[in-house]
Amino acid sequence: MTRASVVLIIGGAAGIGKAVAESRLKKNDKVIFTDINAEVGNQLMKEWRSQDYEATFLRQNVTSWQDTEAVVAKTVALYGRIDVLIISAGVTSQKRLEDISEKEWRFTLDVNLTGLFYNLKAAIPEMVKHYGGDIVIVGSGSAITGSGGGIHYAVSKGGAFGLMRAIANEYSDQGIHINLVAPRVIETEMLDVLYPTMEAKGALRQKIPVRTFGTLADTTSAINFLASEDSRYIQAQILLLDGGRTYLT
C-alpha cells in the first residue's frame, strides 16, 4: 500500500484547482487547498470532511508574501512535508491593449506571475528538505499564441515558462520534479468570462480541430500524471492541452 501524499493546491476552491483537489481526495491523499474566497473554501472543506476526506482549507491571497509563507508553514506544521504542489490560482479579463489600465496590468501579473513566484519560493525549500517532490504549474496556451484573455494574461502566463525552466535548472538535482500544463479552452468559470454567449462559444469550438472543449477531467488527468512517478523523466516541459488548436490551425 502506497503512502498518502500531502498535496498543497494553490487556488483549489474553484475551476481546475478544485477538480484536482477532488481527484486527490478520492485517492485518499491529504489535501491542503487555498483560495482568496474563504466562504467558498470553508464550505468545500466542510463538505469534503463530511465525506471523510482529509481536506484542509487555508485562506490565501497569492499576492501577499506573508500569506504565502503562512500557508507553507501551516502545511508543514500539520503534516511535516509537502509531496505535491499544484499552483492553479489565476485571474483573467478579455481586453485589448489600449483598454488595459496600469492597475489591471499590475493586478493580473501580481496574481498570475508574482503569486506563482511566491508559492515556489516559499514551498521549494521545504520540499527539498524532504528530498523534493512534484510541482505542476497551471499555465495557459495563451502564452504560446499571445491571444486569449488579453495581452496581460498572456504575459503573466508566458512568465511562468521561464520561471519553471529556471527552477528546473536550479533544483532538478535536488528531487524537484517540475512541469507545466497549458490548457487552452477548458470548460471552466474562466471560459464563461472570456466567451459569455453560446454564439461566442460555438464560434470558438469551430476553431478547435477536435471540435470540443477540454474538460476539467482532461486537465486533472494531465496534472495528476505530471505529479506522479509515472512521469518522472518528464522534466521542465510544457504540456499543451488544446485539442490540436495551437499547432493545427
Binding site: 519560493k121 504560446i144 499564441t145 508566458g158 521561464g162
Partner: protein
C-alpha cells in the same frame, strides 16, 4: 528613418547611435520610478535633451504633448529595457523580484502603450530578450521569467497591432553572445539590418542569436 530606443544606457545603444543619423532614446534618471528624459542623438554626437517625463505620476502626458507638437512618428521602436541580477530562487528577495518585474515588463508595457500611437503604420517593435526565457540557464529566476513574459507580450502585440501592419518581433540573445568580443556589434548589426530592410512577413517571431548554443 526615426528610431526610438527605450533605454539609452543599455550596451547596444551606443553602437546603434553610430549606425543611424538620428536616434531618439529614453534616458532614465530613476528607472524604478519611471523618471527620465527623451533625448535625440544626431550623427553619434552628444545627446540633446528634448523633454523630461514621469511615467508613474503623469503617465506619458509630457511625452505625448511633445510628440504631438512635433508631429513625430517612429519607424522602429527597440525595447532594450532589461535588468539582470543573477540571483537564484532562494537569493531573490520579494523586493528584487518586484524590481525586475517593473523594469523588464511593467515599464515596457507603459512605454509601448504611450508610444504606439506614434509608431508609423507598417512600422515595427523589436524587443531584446534572452535565450534564458526558454532555457532558464542564467541562474536568474526573475530575468528568465520576465523575459519569457516579454516574448508572450510581443506575440500579443503582433496580433493586436496587425490592423495597422505594425509588426512585433523578439531578438533573443544568449548570455555568451553578449560576452564575446564582437558580440554587441553583431547584435547591433542584426538590429540595424532589421530596421533598414524590414521583412514584412516577419511578425510575432523570436529570432535567436546564440551561435548555435541552444542546440545542445
Amino acid at each position: 528613418m526615426n528610431i526610438l530606443l527605450f533605454d539609452s544606457s543599455h550596451q547596444i545603444s551606443g553602437v546603434l547611435t553610430e549606425y543611424f543619423p538620428s536616434v531618439y532614446a529614453l534616458h532614465f534618471t530613476d528607472k524604478l520610478n519611471g523618471k527620465g528624459c527623451l533625448s535625440q542623438y544626431v550623427s553619434g554626437q552628444d545627446p540633446e535633451q528634448l523633454i523630461t517625463f514621469d511615467l508613474l505620476d503623469d503617465g506619458a502626458s509630457s511625452i505625448e504633448s511633445w510628440l504631438n507638437e512635433h508631429h513625430m512618428t517612429f519607424d522602429a521602436v527597440i525595447n532594450n529595457l532589461e535588468q539582470w541580477s543573477g540571483r537564484t530562487l532562494t537569493e531573490t528577495s520579494v523586493e528584487q523580484w518586484q524590481e525586475s518585474l517593473f523594469i523588464n515588463l511593467h515599464l515596457p508595457f507603459l512605454l509601448v502603450k504611450a508610444f504606439i500611437p506614434y509608431v508609423s503604420d507598417k512600422g515595427q517593435l523589436i524587443h531584446i530578450s534572452s535565450t534564458a526565457a526558454v532555457s532558464g540557464e542564467t541562474g536568474d529566476v526573475s530575468y528568465a521569467s520576465h523575459k519569457s513574459g516579454l516574448e508572450a507580450f510581443s506575440k500579443g502585440l503582433s496580433r493586436e497591432l496587425s490592423k495597422r501592419k505594425i509588426r512585433s518581433n523578439v531578438i533573443s540573445i544568449s548570455p555568451a553572445c553578449w560576452e564575446k568580443p564582437d558580440g554587441v556589434r553583431q547584435i547591433a548589426q542584426l538590429l540595424n539590418q532589421t530596421c533598414h530592410e524590414p521583412i514584412r512577413f516577419l511578425n510575432g517571431q523570436v529570432i535567436t542569436l546564440d551561435n548555435g548554443e541552444t542546440l545542445s
